[in-house]
Symmetry: C2
Subunit: 365 residues, 2 copies
């Protein structure tokens, strides 16, 4: 249990704040504070810890020999957004990484997850990736999800302590409740590096994001490793919107691409050079074209809800929490038993900068 | 003249500090302070103002119509480093942009500039670009300088006020003393935009950096505009060393490249995509290769001095002022009447990061 003194101190330092949303009242840690991770949420009936940061390795072979002393499980890293799903009061809710109740995931989880799990395991938290093209947050999605979204359980956490269940316990629960889960590639050791390199090349070809390596308890050391194609795709998708992200987002990914090539012995071909250049140049041109046509740089999002109220709550949350982004509610209509929410995110920094530059403005850099 | 009260205030706030170097004592403004630019230097016999920032336009046509109401001179922007050269006491010295006495430029200026100028014009400051492959600061140099360096006068400034001479006065002095100067492409107006676009395409093909546009006095408005090839070359040359520069250095240049293409109607070809990708990927690979061979990422510099003492002073200055860079003096030998100084800059951030990543280290990003 979290020490009440630490909680008071966090509130005083504005690292934790009271939230009221969708009928729930709780305390949300908006930043890491002492050993309490950002996104931790204190509900009257339980403490849900923030999902911990997982360090990234840039080199596979040296990375696993440096990081792991024991065998480790290797699971797919799915390209979506992280939610923690659990029971509170009479309901089941999903918290975003930052600790906000996510209306979308809360509304849709019953389409994917057997709620019996929460009745029978009120003290467990399902850590899931929500991924797919029709989500309200991110533009990327795994190649094998062609519409809507899916949930992928990758960890089960205990309320109150934030500890994860062992791989065996987790697997048993996933099986018992037929929970949708990330693909597990198996248990590996350092000497299996060639198998893992081959696996990464396969995931890279398939346009999948990468892997998470997890030593089992008690050590529980973890690391993630990403494919070249995922890094390239990050650049491609965000370049039209370059100013919303820290510039390090790009230099970091270029570094990862080059080290992936180095690790896998991928040759530097013209095609590869071309792909990287194209990711930047075409992305920016699409922003310029949109700006010239519409006077703004924006992206349209579309996602399905079971409940109309939750769709409206989603818009409210996005408006309240988006920085340098204007959220415009465009449509909400019924289709096939769902409410389809359509909204637009206008990227204000990129819109402002392009407006300034294209009209001949000066920049002192 | 600068108000003595402002000077005292700047010293108190550590924006100006006393320097003693090469027998000169002066006060150097290490930051902009009120209306006094960074690099301003107060000598007992005169005040030399910092060279003012010139804003950059990213679009030529809209840029000139937005920025200039009167005709403007267009001069070549030479890719080198900026020094201000003037007489102080019995000597003639060159100050770097930041206001340090540059031993290299001070030592070599007499090879390029007729010192009679300073005897007859002790109150004038020659603002010059020093460019060429053998300089102690930067790795890029104009394509038309194959060895050593040259000086290129582009402005003449008055001591005490920081005002520039008019184009006519400047040109007369350049002619009278046969001073080496930047190429002047002529006097232009907004309606000449097509000529300027053609000029930029020519400079781009020739691998030259770009142009500076200067309205004459009294307005004296200024702007700079850079070729695509110069931006690409910046990326290519610095990518091996990506961590020494702010990440915005790269995103900014990608943006400039795309807007140059947009302005000039340059088609997006595979070749162009490839060049951008290659700039990043080959640069980083060369850093990795060097690290694996030598355990460090570094660059060797070589430059010629008239005087041995000034070569040693250069090393001293570099060691004193370089941040996150280790300067290693490697050689100093006589050749053809010069002292050739050889030194190495070890890029500590890049060396540290690559060491961490290549040995399998974790990064929390």
């Amino acid at each position: 249990m979290i020490d009440p003194g630490a909680v008071r101190e966090a509130v005083r330092k504005k690292k934790a704040r009271r939230e009221e949303f969708l009928g729930y009242e709780y305390l949300r840690f908006s930043d890491d504070f002492e050993n309490i991770p950002r996104g931790t949420a204190l509900f009257p009936d339980g403490e849900v810890f923030g999902y911990p940061h997982i360090g990234r390795i840039f080199m596979l072979e040296r990375g696993i020999s440096d990081q792991f002393k024991a065998p480790f499980w290797v699971e797919e890293k799915v390209d979506g957004f992280n939610v923690r799903v659990f029971r509170s009061g009479e309901g089941v809710i999903a918290l975003s990484r930052g600790g906000y109740i996510c209306p979308f995931s809360t509304d849709r989880l019953k389409d994917f997850i057997d709620l019996t799990f929460f009745e029978e395991n009120p003290d467990f938290v399902l850590c899931c990736e929500v991924a797919g093209p029709e989500n309200p947050y991110i533009e990327e999605s795994p190649p094998y999800i062609s519409s809507d979204i899916s949930f992928f359980v990758f960890d089960i956490m205990r309320k109150g302590s934030g500890e994860f269940l062992s791989h065996r316990e987790k697997t048993q629960l996933i099986e018992r409740y037929s929970l949708p889960a990330v693909e597990v590639f198996g248990l590996f050791e350092n000497k299996d590096v060639q198998t893992l390199k081959d696996l990464m090349l396969k995931l890279d070809r398939e346009g999948r994001e990468g892997i998470v390596l997890k030593e089992d308890l008690p050590e529980g050391k973890r690391a993630k490793y990403i494919t070249e194609s995922a890094n390239l795709s990050d650049i491609k998708i965000t370049a039209s919107n370059m100013l919303q992200l820290p510039a390090e987002y790009y230099t970091n990914r270029i570094m990862r691409i080059v080290l992936f090539m180095e690790e896998e012995g991928i040759e530097r071909t013209r095609h590869l050079y071309e792909e990287l250049g194209r990711a930047f140049i075409d992305g920016l041109f699409s922003a310029i074209e949109q700006f010239k046509k519409e006077g703004k740089v924006s992206r349209e999002f579309r996602c399905r809800f079971r409940s109309r109220e939750m769709a409206l709550a989603q818009i409210e949350l996005l408006k309240r929490t988006s920085r340098h982004i204007q959220v415009i509610h465009k449509d909400l209509y019924e289709e096939d038993g769902y409410y389809v929410l359509v909204f637009e995110k206008v990227f204000l920094n990129m819109t402002g900068l392009l407006g300034h530059l294209l009209s001949g403005g000066l920049v002192f850099d």
